[in-house]
């Protein structure tokens, strides 16, 4: 099913000419209104007028996460604050999150994109959508909510958490679609079964849109079997708009269609920055071409993917990006929250006496991500009293919870048990098998 037949099936030629027109307008806009972009353009002598074709995209400078952080909170907004009707922020960062803004039209665009996403999964008016993405600064909840309302579905804005209550509602309200992270879908199923409820028989769910964290074909099979549903992969990131950047279609479930009339995707070599041809794996880069409040130029996602231009059986002409297969940096996604080991390190360093000899063990138990922080005991923190060591463990758990909203376990270990490698220490052991 296609929400916006006209745009989603535009012949490539027409699509590309639309992209060029919109790209030029976006470049003009950021040059004129965002000092950060003007400065970056001027440094290389680039003028908006130099962008004459889509191939000229590669002339534009990249934007990276630290650029966004350096301009906290509203420095990259391209409209006056009075035109911004909403802000969102990225999850799980030390102190300063990444803040994005939306004009009234941006919210409208976003609702359109999420309407496309849900329609691509076969969700329509008459469906009841159980939306377990978190509501709040996180883009997931409200993004999916507006899309579901746009198509005329009935939304249950349950947000995250309180799993048993969610299951009761799923049983009693009879939602036909669910939107949440794939790991939460599996966790919900586990808890349901503990309560004597069979997700395949006792729920009316037909389809689920899952995203906000990396998952795999194996997990898809698992979710589809447990719930007896179609599980569709959706993708987005706060910096670009939130969910609604790309989505699979239920017809093929093979790669995510990038909504190219709003975002231009590129795959680059993460080392050299050179654009790579279709089919080659590299870092995914997005340029927004319709956003007003927070346009991004060649934003480096650090996600690894590749683009497939083959025409899809669903009829959409948009290229498909492959499911995200990794990161070019060491960012971890723990229960949908972005966590950098360096942030955990700085949290540990706040605790008097601790040394930066630590290791993070990430695992997935009962379908929930777990993180264990192992810290070496040294003479400064060691005590003959158990309670003093337990205070340190509790402090680590507390501080990390405060910072990321993620519960972890802290284990004190003997000195020199954490491997020290030459050069970069191996800080993370990710045991999750997706």
């Amino acid at each position: 099913m296609i929400w916006n037949e006209e745009f989603e099936t535009l012949p490539r030629e027409a699509l590309e000419s639309l992209q060029l027109k919109r790209l030029k307008a976006t470049v003009d806009r950021v040059y004129a209104t965002v000092p950060f972009y003007k400065k970056k353009f001027d440094e290389t002598g680039l003028k908006p007028a130099h962008i004459k074709s889509l191939a000229d995209l590669k002339l534009l400078p990249f934007t990276v996460k630290t650029d966004l952080r350096d301009n906290y909170p509203f420095g990259l907004f391209s409209v006056p604050m009075e035109s911004v009707v909403r802000v969102h922020a990225s999850s799980g960062t030390t102190g300063k999150p990444i803040v994005v803004g939306y004009t009234k039209r941006d919210i409208d665009t976003w609702a359109e994109l999420m309407a496309r996403t849900l329609t691509a999964a076969g969700i329509h008016k008459g469906d009841i959508v159980h939306n377990s993405y978190g509501y709040g600064l996180f883009t997931g909840g409200l993004g999916a909510h507006y899309g579901a309302e746009r198509i005329g579905a009935s939304v249950i804005p349950i947000s995250g958490g309180n799993t048993k209550r969610q299951i009761m509602i799923m049983k009693d309200f009879g939602p036909t679609a669910i939107t949440c992270t794939p790991s939460y879908a599996l966790h919900l199923a586990d808890v349901a079964r503990d309560m004597g409820i069979d997700p395949a028989k006792d729920f009316k769910i037909r389809v689920g849109c899952f995203g906000a964290e990396p998952w795999s074909e194996k997990m898809r099979e698992q979710i589809e079997k447990i719930y007896n549903i179609d599980a569709v992969d959706i993708f987005g990131l706060t910096e670009v708009i939130g969910p609604g950047v790309s989505s699979e279609c239920i017809e093929a479930k093979k790669g995510l269609h990038v909504f190219e009339d709003h975002f231009i995707p590129e795959i680059i070599n993460p080392e050299t920055g050179e654009p790579l041809p279709y089919g080659e794996k590299g870092e995914l880069v997005f340029t927004s071409i319709t956003k007003e409040a927070f346009p991004v130029i060649r934003y480096r996602t650090r996600d690894i993917s590749c683009l497939n231009p083959e025409l899809c059986i669903c009829g959409r002409t948009f290229v498909r990006m492959e499911r995200i297969t990794g990161r070019t940096d060491d960012m971890l996604i723990i229960r949908g929250v972005n966590v950098f080991p360096s942030q955990i390190e700085s949290a540990l360093m706040q605790i008097e006496g601790l040394e930066p000899h630590y290791q993070l063990i990430v695992d997935r138990k009962n379908n929930l991500d777990t993180i264990e922080v192992q810290v070496e005991v040294n003479e400064k923190i060691f005590s003959d009293e158990v309670k003093r060591l337990e205070i340190i463990e509790k402090r680590v758990v507390h501080d990390i919870k405060e910072m990321f909203g993620v519960s972890c376990k802290c284990t004190l270990v003997e000195p020199k048990t954490i491997q020290r490698s030459e050069g970069k220490a191996q800080r993370v052991i990710d045991k999750r098998k997706l």
Binding site: V377, E379, D384, E385, V386, L412, P415
Partner: protein, 143 residues
């Protein structure tokens, strides 16, 4: 009047205690008293040895995390109610026991118990005033 105890951090995994004993054994250290406080993840081995400096050096060389703590060795009458009488004295004066463990050797007709109080000096004062014998470090190391 106080005795120096060595504490050693141990991860809760097999072979760690044995390793400490091997290190001490090959350094020729004799253990006079010991106890282990444990949680699900780690343990703290507390020992009193005949040569603490040598023991500390040997353990540090093997990368163990160690610390020294002052504890009090108290002679407790080896009869029913012996320990109760001592704890009662301390309780009345508001001294709290952080932890305690029994000594392996006996001193004359009495048992020896190692105490770590929240106020060691106060405890010593209370006990000596009541005529309880506190053993000196030099005596304890060589019992």
């Amino acid at each position: 009047m106080k005795v120096e105890q060595i504490s050693v951090f141990l991860e809760n995994k097999s072979g760690r205690l044995a390793e400490v004993m091997r290190v001490l054994g090959s350094a020729g250290i004799n253990i006079r008293a010991l106890s282990i406080a444990d949680t699900s993840d780690f343990g703290i081995l507390r020992i009193i040895v005949n040569d603490k400096e040598k023991a500390l050096k040997a353990l540090k060389e093997k990368d163990f995390t160690v610390s020294k703590t002052e504890v009090v060795a108290v002679e407790v009458p080896d009869k029913p109610g012996g320990l109760a009488q001592i704890l009662d004295l301390l309780d009345k004066k508001g001294v709290n026991v952080e932890y305690m463990y029994a000594f392996i050797e006996r001193s004359s007709e009495n048992a020896v118990i190692i105490f770590r109080f929240d106020g060691n000096d106060k405890a010593i004062e209370v006990l000596t005033t009541a005529g309880i014998v506190i053993l000196d470090g030099s005596k304890v190391y060589n019992l």
